[in-house]
């Protein structure tokens, strides 16, 4: 029988993050007191991060299917078909808490983990993105966190050799104690060469590959699900260190091994390392698993079974191999200088048996570890909605030009060049649209196909109205893909929220999810993978609800696409979509007027689709090549970005009557695109738009080196550029700062 020391006390149970009733449930399942190793295993399997116990119920309502979806949620990454036998694997994942504690290593291991998810499926990573949220620029830790996180993302991706082609960076005081680091990876795989985590066959060897196991991140998964308190800075030694070089070797070795035909199933060791990976492989395949920990390659001496089962050392994989291919597989791993050890085998017992030092230290029912994990229908309350603000309730600025300068130079809307210049966005030689456009464009091998990628969410909208905010996040991702001419195909999501045990936070979660689901359905833009990060709270204060959406679209001919910058003088500029002048929750209201108030702009999904399809049709027909969607900051900011990107100015026509100028210029109405084309082309476009009942309004003409708003002194592009480019570098050069080494 299993030796049982130490004794399992209620304190020990609580330290493992298990609630008393959850522990009772576990006791009932195994019918005896667990060993400490078993307690560790169940605490890892049943925490929020692995079991999705608060979110599962609601995630089920998301649309996950479409004819082009090969693999929806549930595997390491989602996979979509892009034609010609090519498929794209992608997923986004958070590394929020570790990055707050140690920004450089937290970010590196976040990137490493998501890259592994993608190549575990047999896909070679071809692009990475990230969405980052930091606290107020005035918060004493913000600069250090920005510096470390950005250096860490670059440090890992650059060395691994994947281009980081897009993302988002935002600042808000609600992230002061809980930053968000969401990383997305995208890989290319032949659709008949995909690998899964499901083990098959009894008696097959289970092989451990990659780096050695150390005491890193023990209880990392539990930490990721626990609300922060002031003591958490003391949990420091659990920090994991990333080794991009080892990951690069692991990638090459895994892909070579997959080509050899030796692999039956493969699973990366992510959160809760060996535990989650082994249990998932067995449970998915309706098989038992027996592990012998004496065979696990260890970096440190005297590691206990408990530590080995919970270690989150990075750059490790678990595989089930065809027995006859074992030697061939081992030779491949030795060539790449990686550890290779047979650590167990599949069985027909449906038990998860772990041995160490000749003794059984765990013996658990494998299916139940996953299937019987707690599932909560947590109570939630819908948020009280903010009233709609009319333009009359929002003060006009002294000068629209001055307001534009302020917005374009603000922390959220200022250029993020300082960030993305630290990411190698050009490696592999396929980056057709670099950071700075609406969505990145990456060519597939030698073309002509390409994919287009974006990450989006507007947390202040989600906070003010979760359903509308959820819809908007999806719609904006769809719009950004459309704006470059891509056909939006599917999304991954990274749902970052506060403590789900609070009904109002659960209300945000449920609301956002409903909005996301509605938008995905209406836009044929299913969810194929994702990640949930809850308990993003410090001392009772939650982050803004931040469901980051990572969108993927396809371009049949990558040469036919649109870009943001004005191309030449004399083009006519026009606005696709209606403008009511919606200032509630706008950047103008927040950054110029100093208020965060009102309902966010409503998203009409039918209109969204109609306007987007119209714009995409023109791009794909080769008739329109200058497009920018309108989002944060509204029309004026979009126009300024187009002028700066193309280094060509513009002069606007008189503004529409019956609408306050500031509402027209800074309102954040949805489903809008700014387009520019030669006069005769634009004339034809406007005629077609009228026919198709798509509202298009002429805005002005391109030319010169100023942006001239009607009735105001023209703004020199040089001044706009100076404002746009200077905030972040100036901020980062601030007091006592040193780039992470």
């Amino acid at each position: 029988m299993i030796a049982n020391a130490p004794k399992i006390t209620p304190e020990l149970v609580a330290e493992h993050g298990l609630k008393p009733d959850e522990y009772e449930r576990f006791l009932a399942l195994i019918g005896r007191e667990p060993t400490i190793t078993e307690l560790g295993i169940v605490s890892a399997m049943w925490n929020e991060h692995c079991s999705y116990k608060s979110s599962r119920l609601h995630l089920r309502n998301l649309p996950t299917k479409a004819p082009w979806v090969i693999q929806g949620p549930g595997e390491n990454a989602g996979i979509i078909d892009i034609g010609d036998g090519d498929a794209i694997a992608f997923k986004m994942e958070s590394h929020n808490h570790p990055s707050f504690i140690e920004p450089y290593q937290g970010a590196t291991t976040g990137v490493g983990g998501i890259l592994r998810d993608v190549f575990t499926m047999g896909a070679r990573p071809i692009a990475a993105l990230n969405a980052l949220r930091f606290g107020s620029p005035d918060h004493p830790r913000t600069r250090h966190l920005v510096s470390g996180v950005v250096a860490g993302i670059g440090g890992y991706g650059n060395s691994f050799g994947v281009p980081t082609v897009g993302g988002a960076v935002g600042f808000h005081t609600r992230y002061d104690g809980n930053i968000l680091v969401n990383a997305m990876a995208v890989g290319l795989v032949r659709s008949d060469r995909i690998f899964y985590a499901t083990a098959t066959g009894v008696g097959n060897p289970i092989v451990y590959l990659g780096s050695k196991t150390g005491r890193d991140g023990i209880h990392g998964a539990t930490m990721a699900s626990a609300e922060f308190d002031q003591n958490s800075e003391e949990k420091r030694p659990t920090v994991q260190v990333g080794d991009p070089f080892a990951e690069k070797l692991l990638l090459e070795a895994c892909l070579e091994l997959m080509d050899s035909g030796a692999v039956i199933a493969i699973q990366d060791m992510g959160a809760a390392g060996l535990t989650c990976s082994a249990v998932e492989m067995g449970a998915k395949g309706d098989l038992g698993v027996e592990l012998d920990l004496d065979a696990v390659p260890c970096r440190e001496e005297g590691m206990s079974a408990y530590e080995m089962m919970l270690s989150e050392s990075q750059e490790r994989m678990l595989m089930v191999l065809k027995p006859e291919k074992r030697d061939e597989a081992e030779a491949i791993f030795r060539k790449w200088g990686l550890d290779f050890a047979v650590v167990g085998r599949t069985t027909d017992t449906l038990r998860f048996v772990v041995k160490h030092g000749g003794e059984v230290v765990a013996d658990l029912p494998i299916k139940e570890l996953g299937d019987e994990a707690p599932l909560y229908d947590r109570p939630y309350i819908s948020n009280t909605f903010e009233p709609v603000l009319t333009a009359a309730e929002v003060a006009a600025p002294m000068s629209n030009g001055a307001a534009l300068l302020e917005l374009i130079g603000s922390p959220d809307l200022g250029s993020k060049r300082w960030v993305w210049e630290q990411y190698d966005h050009l490696i592999l030689g396929n980056t057709v649209q670099t950071p700075g456009g609406d969505a990145a464009i990456v060519r597939i091998e030698d073309g002509p196909k390409g994919i287009t990628l974006t990450t989006d969410v507007t947390p202040r909208y989600c906070e003010a109205d979760p359903v509308e905010g959820g819809r908007q996040a999806v719609a904006e991702a769809w719009r950004n893909i459309t704006a470059v001419g891509g056909r939006p195909l599917a999304i991954t999501d990274n749902l970052n929220f506060g403590n789900p045990e609070k009904p109002e936070i659960m209300g945000q979660f449920v609301g956002c999810l409903r909005g996301i689901g509605e938008a995905c359905r209406a836009l044929d833009f299913p969810v194929v993978s994702g990640n949930v990060s809850l308990y993003n709270e410090t001392q009772g204060r939650s982050i803004l609800p931040t469901p980051t959406i990572g969108g993927v679209g396809v371009l049949d001919d990558v040469a036919v696409h649109a870009t943001v910058g004005f191309r030449r003088s004399g083009d006519v500029i026009a606005l696709v979509g209606d403008t009511a002048g919606w200032l509630g929750q706008s950047c103008y209201l927040r950054d110029v007027c100093g208020r965060e108030a009102g309902a966010p702009p409503p998203v009409d999904l039918a209109v969204e689709r109609r306007n987007g399809d119209f714009v995409r049709g023109l791009i794909q027909a080769g008739r329109l090549a200058t497009v920018h969607d309108c989002s944060d900051g509204g029309l004026a900011v979009a126009l300024a970005e187009m002028a700066l990107a193309g280094a060509v100015g513009a002069t606007l026509d008189p503004l529409p009557e019956g609408l306050a100028a500031h509402a027209f210029l800074f309102g954040e109405d949805q489903a809008r695109y700014v387009i520019a084309a030669a006069p005769e082309t634009m004339e034809a476009i406007m005629a077609e738009a009228a026919h198709a009942q798509v509202p298009v309004r002429r805005l002005g003409v391109t030319g010169g080196d100023v942006l001239a708003l009607p009735g105001e002194a023209p703004l020199a592009l040089a001044e706009l550029r100076e404002r746009h480019e200077s905030w972040l570098p100036t901020y980062m050069a601030g007091q006592g700062h040193l780039t992470a080494a």
């Binding site: 650059n158 691994f160 070089f245 050009l426 030689g429 073309g447 040469a559």
Partner: protein
């Protein structure tokens, strides 16, 4: 032209340069594992590609410079064979003492990936024959340790012997502080060996060979190599 690209375990721009060799120089390179002892016979050009050869944790290129294949590369260079080291390849050439000097951490202490103008300092070498004299080309950089440094004597020798291959400059060809992307001495972006047959440079001409992906200003280097070989 017969070319070979050496692959170290952490190389990551080997496919990029192989594509450039094939597209612009018409040469499909042999891909050579770093553990090999010899180059394929008849090799005209050896390329050390960009990447992080062994993780580059100690000093960039330090471990790669001691790899078995490097003896063969040295012998090839000594015979007058062409060697091109790009980015990490340049670091490896310096660590191997095939080229003088060192590449230190960028002056701003951050990795930098951006478009970058270069002044082609001479167009009478095997690497630059297709560029016009004094040409300013638009390529890209992507490195964290590319700040070229050497003692004053070495710099003096490089300058007086015309061994500076490229300098970081602005669009007009001027050397300004803002255009020196990493703080290199004399804005040096690339240098030749004494015999002119070994070139190391930090920027990535191999990523600028296609109008769709940023432009074609990098093609000239590969076309020059092909042409030099035909002329030889």
């Amino acid at each position: 032209m017969k070319s070979a690209v050496v692959i170290f375990p952490g190389s990551n721009r080997e496919r990029d340069v192989a594509r450039a060799l094939k597209d612009a120089a018409g040469s499909t390179p042999a891909m050579l594992w770093h553990g090999e002892q010899a180059l394929p016979s008849g090799t005209d050009l050896v390329v050390l590609p960009g990447g992080f050869s062994y993780g580059d944790y100690l000093r960039c290129g330090a471990i790669a410079a001691r790899a078995p294949i490097m003896d063969a590369v040295r012998a090839h260079a000594a015979r007058g064979g062409l060697v091109l080291g790009i980015c990490n390849g340049f670091q490896i050439l310096c660590e191997s003492q095939l080229l003088p000097g060192v590449l230190m951490r960028n002056a701003q202490l951050r990795f930098v990936c951006r478009r970058q103008h270069l002044r082609v300092e001479r167009n009478d070498t095997a690497f630059t024959g297709r560029y016009l004299p004094g040409a300013v080309i638009d390529v890209c950089v992507a490195h964290g340790e590319g700040s070229y440094a050497a003692d004053t004597d070495t710099i003096h020798r490089l300058e007086s012997e015309g061994r500076v291959a490229f300098r970081y400059c602005d669009a007009a060809g001027e050397l300004t502080p803002a255009s020196n992307c990493n703080g290199s001495v004399n804005a040096i972006a690339g240098i030749y060996s004494q015999g002119g047959n070994v070139l190391g440079l930090m920027p990535h001409p191999e990523n600028l060979i296609d109008d769709l992906v940023g432009g074609t200003d990098g093609r000239g280097l590969f076309e020059s190599l092909a042409e030099a070989r035909r002329a030889a």
